[in-house]
Amino acid sequence: MTRISGGLIDRSRTLSFTFEGKRYEGHPGDTLASALMANGVRLVGRSFKYHRPRGIFAAGSEEPNALVTLRSGARAEPNTRATTIELYDGLEAVSQNRWPSLAFDALGVNDLASPFFAAGFYYKTFMWPKAFWEKLYEPLIRRAAGLGALGGEPDPDAYDKGFLHCDLLIIGGGATGLAAALTAGRAGASVILADEDMRLGGRLLMESHALNDAPAVDWVQGIEAELESLPNVRILRRTTIFGSFDHGIFGALERVGDHLLRPETVRQTLWRITAKRSILAAGATERHIPFASNDRPGILLGGALRAYVNRWGVTPQAKDSDRIAIFTDNDDGHRTAIDLVAKGIPVLAVIDAREDAQRLGEYQLYKGATVTGTQGRLGLSSIDITQNGLTRTLECAVLGVSGGWNPNLHLASHHRGRPVWSQAHSAFLPPEDLPQGMAVAGAAAGHGSTHAALRSGAQIAAQLSECKPAELPLAEDAPHRQTPLWHVPGKTRAWVDFQNDVTVKDIALAHRENMRPVEHLKRWTTLGMATDQGKTANVTALAVMAELTGKTIAQTGTTIFRPPYTPVALGALGGGDSGVHFRPTRLTPTHPFAVQRGAPFVEVGQWLRAQYFPLKGETHWRESVDREVLAVRSGVGLCDVTTLGKIDVQGTDAGDFLNRIYCNAMASLKVGKVRYGLMLREDGFAYDDGTCARLGEQHYVVTTTTANAGLVYRQMEFARQCLWPDLDVQLISTTDAWAQIAVAGPKSRELLSRVVEADLSNEAFPFMACAETRVCGLRARLFRISFSGELAYEIAVPTRYGNALMARLMEVGADLGVTPYGTEALGVLRIEKGHATGAELNGQASAQMLGMGRMVSTKKDSIGAVMSRREGLMADTRRLVGLMPQDPQARILAGGHLFAPEAERKTETDLGWVTSACWSPHLNSYIALGFLTDGEARLGETVIVANPLEGDEAPCKIVSPHFIDPEGGRLRD
């Protein structure tokens, strides 16, 4: 056991957890990493490519090695960093990417074969024989690749989304962020302070420094209490600001329930924060120094080692007597040794690469020395120290490596600003062109000492909030002293990117093969592509490449950062509205009626519409649909057509306006009349069709197809506001205001006359008449229009009465055999009549193709008229035709293609396709509509409907698309 005294854990309570099925104990305040360390667990994971044994390397979200699968079953969270998992009672975690066990991993053989697995090797082989790639090589690679596994079951947890607004967003709750929050909060600004950790304090929690001669954590808690008391400050703990987007918008992930056995409410919340200003105070991440065999469990970042000792009261030793060494190129490495010594932990030595290094505490110092090798199969046992050409091997179980600190400037670079190299800091600093409203403070801006960080946070917040900086505690202000050592040269592999197993040799190979631009280097070697996104590797790799090319780091280039800062669960990004809540559901006014009748429903855009209304004893949908169709053709049927778009057009120029919107004339329409209208897109192709009713001199009602209701309205507003703002015309969508029911069939007049308070005789209310009237005492609109080809009406009442109207019509029409019909029968009826719907009006058809070429008026300007006369549209001879199979029982399917009987079935001889098809109970035959080249000229000929996809063909006679009543007598009776 390697628990030591101190730390910010609650030793009064014990938490039980399992790793690899074995039970352990830890305390509140622990991470899984610190708890594993406390239990002497050193081997935690395996690397991606070589399956090398790996331990805990870092103490935060930059961890490359200690990835586990947290939880199990549907809640399994693969690739979770042990260093960021807050310990809870009952936690279960297992290692990943190993078989059969973590200690003995069969794919460890990859490590022995590593000479053949150099950077980019797979681009050079596996090409012969050709078929083997997909049958052998790739399946093997895929099986070996990947890290953890998803549970494979639907994610059972709930997620939430929310919006927050503030004057100042402070990203990071360490010394800098706290000083900034205090300054801006006291000045009254609305402040959000977010930190990814479970508690505020950042590095202050991990260091032994005093603030105002007291433990730093005392100061942190004091400030925290004050911030909590300010109503204008909101603290978001366990919250990662993962992305900076346009205009001061940030994406934030709050882990609401991840520290619990089961979330109490939601697992995570995705916040979209809109901030007028922001301060990036995200601190810095330590670099390591690549040297031979530097990846063994027990080797970790010096700052992380210090964090485990100070914050969690634990060390990675296997036993108390194990010795710890430090390898560094800067003064910060010595701090770790000082803290260890203070805790009474045996320090072997500090190995400092600098010739001029100074001893800063009670430990042995090797100046101008490097670590040139390590030993220990599943954990570090000894290291090779080389000084003045002399190498000695010393027993050592833990090695802390300190290579200097990289500012966490990721979010500052999310808008593609390029980080700038600073020789003085031996690091990249934030770019000049920051995201709108952002400032960078503290270690993220290169202010490494506690004093400098505090001051920078307070000053920048004061500038932004136009107030005085908060009073700051006394803090250490040690200078940055470093002579960067980018790697220790040698013949043995020295890891740069641990997770993806990218070594210094791989970088050298990339250099030799002319993969030298940074992006080539990354892509050739997979550097920085792992789950840690190279947080501990990228800058080092760049420096190694610079050394190889003989250029400076600044000349070698840099790489920008993209969201997210750390990986974000897709559940949080896309959750909340999943399953049946993926999109809103719109219900028609007669939905309750249809439910009561047991109708199945079909999704039509966001709408749910009744498909058909089965009667008892009907066993197949076709039975119901055929019955409904025949009822309309012989009696009367009712169908809810509310989903069609309805747009009210009013104003003195309404007629003129609609003349410009429709390709045919509408201004000449008489009051009380309806006209079919066709709209074109400005590029001349058919856009949408519907009816246009003139209810008054300055009042029209336009209907659109269901699918285009919103789009046509948008287009009409465009025409009104952007093209002809001087016309006096007003528009409003009334789709949701009116319930509309089609009453169709020879008995429709008889039925309607029982409820409508108006004269419905053919003389008083002929085909294509419209009127505002009353029905059952309600305000109503009545249109004599027909989609089915029968005598028919559409009647509209305020939406809330739609269901009652349907019930009343059913009641008063019982003796007429009134029959409700759904979308299936509606479809059959309109195909029989040859009316176009979305299948024909698919955006690729011209008015001519639809047989409506002559509707495009040449006497007026209208949207699309000019472009509809382009050569290609005029020359197109495809026309909408009807198709009757020679064998009436031969099923025709929409999507079949049309061929002359003798023609080879290929693209070059393709004559068109079937747009819609159905069984016509009225004609006792399958029938279809389709677009056919030279369609008009081929009427009466035979064409083959070919469906090679499903292997069927049917000869069909080419007929008029109007299968029923082509003269329209039924409509007018």
Binding site: H247, E717, L723, A865
Partner: protein, 92 residues
């Protein structure tokens, strides 16, 4: 993104629907004897600048205004927004 609506103040761009270059305001005014070349250019050709771009956004989830927004396509910085009807009338 946030769009400074001239009547409603800053609004989230998600409330809007984008159309394209504000040159779409300049439909060739032709009556019936239109110039097909001018219409082709109007409907199909774009300057597509990498930089300041005047463009049309529709406040579909809001007040249904069409706006002309001036925005930098390299940085997404928004330099202004006007009602399209004002722009068309020459008022803005």
């Amino acid at each position: 993104m946030l769009i400074p609506h001239p009547l409603l103040g800053l609004r989230d761009a998600q409330e809007f629907t984008y159309l394209g270059d504000a040159s779409l305001l300049n439909r060739p005014d032709t009556g019936t004897d239109a110039d097909p070349e001018a219409f082709f250019a109007y409907t199909h050709l774009r300057d597509n600048p990498a930089g300041v771009h005047r463009e049309l956004w529709f406040h579909e989830q809001g007040d249904r205004s069409w706006l002309v927004v001036t925005r930098n396509t390299l940085t997404h910085e928004i330099l202004g927004a006007e009602l399209a009807s004002d722009v068309k009338r020459g008022l803005a």
